[in-house]
């Protein structure tokens, strides 16, 4: 119910003893917000319970699910969704949508690949150009939204269609085919691959570096959301834009900033796509935008804005990843795959909603 309590860090768990300006009676009562109560109020609680339930379920029905290598595969897929789901969640807390995220990832990968190839430049130059291009797309979304005051649904639907066309059109115009040429023999490829698409071996387990990016983004997003004034503004523009404007919150800048955040994550994802496969299919990415939004919603974001968390979105991505791969580990009939996937998600979300209701009732 409550948007923001402490993430459990030492700074917020107890009030200092020397807080003089308060009368002692109220002090008593303030301290008595116990840990379970604070946990129950977190927006991601339902998602966490749903994730644990799903994990136990697949651990029981699929014998290969619990192997470290299998978990690493699940984490890899979840991380590729989670990198995008986290900033998308922030955007949704800020009260807006972005339907262009799926193809924006592809645009970012294409920009990087084609620039490096066509200019015969060091791949890092392409990576840098791609960052500028992707941020420009994000800025365009945010700027159009704040200028025209049209619903973000329409604006980003337009961007989505335009990018889909540009991805194909420009790639064909420049490369001659719909796939980019391989850049794996170019300078800087190996170091860029190490940053965006390498595998870390810990003990006997291979972990993809996207997992690191994912966790880092969750940490940064949580910090911004709960511990900075920008985070306060994000909740405010999503939860009551007129009230926020009336007290002087820079609404337009906050929203544009959120779209830039989404673009940054799209850049990270795009570079992963490029350096993992060293060529890019220009038609890729369509449909992923809805998965990112779904992950954010499963993680406790309200579709109407003003409520949610970055951790929740990450857990939402994990739920989606577990359901998606767990069905394969369980060796269920593949013809029914989508049905199982949909049913799993619905169940996880229902559980999530139920938990949240219970949590509210105990307040």
């Amino acid at each position: 119910m409550t948007v923001t309590t402490q993430p459990g860090g030492p700074d917020g768990s107890t009030e200092p003893a020397n807080s003089s300006p308060r009368p002692p009676t109220s002090d008593e009562r303030l301290v008595h917000r116990s840990l379970p109560v604070r946990l129950l109020r977190r927006p991601e609680l339902g998602a966490v319970v749903g994730a644990v339930a799903l994990f136990i379920f697949f651990a029981l029905v699929a014998d290969s699910f619990l192997r470290p290598s299998s978990l690493s595969t699940v984490l890899y897929f979840s991380s590729t969704l989670g990198i995008m789901a986290v900033p998308v969640a922030l955007l949704m807390i800020g009260g807006e949508f972005d339907l262009s995220t799926g193809v924006m990832v592809t645009s970012s990968a294409l920009a990087s690949s084609m620039f490096s190839y066509q200019m015969t430049a060091n791949t890092w130059v392409g990576v840098g150009v791609s960052l500028l291009v992707t941020l420009a797309i994000g800025f365009f979304n945010g700027f159009m939204l704040t200028r025209t005051k049209l619903p973000s649904f329409i604006i980003t639907l337009g961007t989505f269609l335009m990018l889909t066309g540009l991805n194909l059109g420009l790639t064909k115009l420049i490369s001659g085919t719909v796939t980019t040429k391989s850049i794996s023999d170019m300078e800087g490829f190996d170091s860029a691959k190490a940053v965006f698409a390498s595998t870390l071996t810990i003990g006997s387990v291979n972990l993809q570096i996207t997992i690191v990016w994912w966790l880092a983004l969750v940490a940064v997003a949580t910090w911004i959301l709960l511990r900075t004034n920008v985070g306060n503004w994000i909740f405010a523009v999503g939860g009551g834009v007129e009230a926020a404007r009336a007290v002087g919150v820079p609404v337009a800048r906050t929203k544009i900033g959120l779209y830039l955040g989404v673009a940054f994550a799209a850049w990270v994802s795009g570079q992963h796509l490029l350096f993992n496969y060293d060529t890019v299919q220009s038609g890729e990415g369509v449909g992923n935008e809805l998965i990112y939004i779904a992950a954010a919603v499963i993680g406790g974001c309200l579709l109407t804005g003003g409520y949610g968390s970055a951790v929740g979105a990450a857990v939402g991505a994990l739920i989606f990843g577990m359901a998606n791969k767990g069905i394969i580990y369980a060796q269920w009939d593949p013809d029914w795959f989508k049905f199982f996937l949909g049913a799993m998600l619905l169940l996880a979300t229902l559980l999530n909603a139920w938990i949240r209701k219970r949590a509210e009732a105990t307040r």
Partner: protein
């Protein structure tokens, strides 16, 4: 934005390896000049291709090559929805083209308009899909690969390689051609085949699904992908999963060619799209010029052609220039 790109480009650190410069240095693009004295006829090709499909790119470049040699004005249009594809054919009829090349992915929707073209005296050749109905509709010939036959060829090749359990990786659920390929494999393959559905627009998703499948079923010793771009992804998944399975694929691209060469891909089965485009235009020209028809109107099969490591050397150059 363009200005930024150019500015950065000017300052860019250059790569001394790979890239466009290397491509220009090695490539002499295939091109030709008209060598015939026939008038400039107008041929139209209407396909069911979606946007941005590598395969149809190659078909097109084959057709254009033939058009250049045969002094043909070549018109290309496509729409993956059958209804709209039919409208495009109607447009071609209205333009009074001298020849029509059309795919019949959904024959029922195309029947009326193709017959109309035949009635209007336009010679029609069908390519790629629609082998069964081509003659009924009044087409002169069909050029393509029987998807079922191609699958059967894969099944036999897998037998020869001593495989016991294969996965057929379907990246577009509900695509009839994909199902036919997998069914074909099942028909001739002595081992077991299981289908695995993935979302083709999400590469990390494809990779992790193949990984999951290989991890959960260690007996799998072959993965057959139905599109060239997915072969390299499957190979990566195999590596991550620590599996010994062989990666085989339908269709060809430069990465598949490279994979054949370095052994990460076992074999590829190709239906030679370049030839589908080239032959269609050339046969129409022959028909107009000399009333010839190859095979007397029987289907002309462009595949399946099984390609392995020994073909890799010569293929690499061809796939890079986008004609294989």
């Amino acid at each position: 934005m363009a200005a930024t790109i150019i500015a950065v480009g000017a300052l860019a650190g250059c790569s001394s390896t790979g890239g466009k410069r290397a491509e220009e240095a090695r490539e002499q693009a295939a091109s030709g000049k008209a060598n015939v004295t026939t008038p400039r006829w107008k041929f139209a090709m209407v396909t069911h291709s979606g946007d941005g499909d590598t395969y149809w790119d190659i078909v097109q470049s084959g057709a254009k090559q033939a058009a250049a040699k045969d002094n043909i004005e070549f018109l290309y249009s496509h729409d993956k929805e059958a209804g709209k594809q039919a409208q495009l054919v109607q447009t071609a009829i209205d333009k009074k083209v001298d020849g029509l090349i059309v795919t019949l992915a959904k024959p029922d929707a195309m029947k009326r308009v193709v017959k109309k073209a035949v009635k209007a005296g336009i010679p029609v050749i069908t390519i790629n899909s629609g082998q069964d109905v081509s003659q009924d509709f009044g087409a002169l010939a069909h050029i393509g690969q029987d998807e079922g036959l191609a699958g059967e060829a894969v099944g036999r090749e897998l037998n020869e390689r001593g495989k016991k359990k294969a996965i057929c990786l379907i990246h577009e659920q509900g695509n009839v051609g994909h199902e036919q390929r997998c069914d074909g494999i099942e028909k001739t393959f002595d081992g077991k085949v299981k289908n695995l559905y993935v979302d083709g627009t999400n590469m990390p998703g494809v990779q992790s699904s193949v990984e999951a499948k290989l991890q959960s079923d260690k007996k799998v010793d072959a993965v057959v992908t139905l599109g060239a771009p997915f072969a390299a992804t499957a190979a990566q998944a195999k590596k991550n999963a620590g599996s010994k399975a062989e990666i085989d694929t339908f269709d060809l691209n430069d990465k598949v060619a490279a994979g054949l060469k370095d052994g990460t891909i076992g074999f590829a089965v190709d239906q030679q799209p370049y030839m589908q485009g080239y032959e269609a235009v050339d046969l129409l020209w022959l028909y107009r010029y000399n009333a010839d028809m190859l095979g007397g109107g029987k289907p002309v099969l462009t595949g399946p052609q099984i390609l392995t490591k020994k073909d890799a050397g010569k293929l690499e150059k061809l796939t890079k220039r986008g004609t294989r």
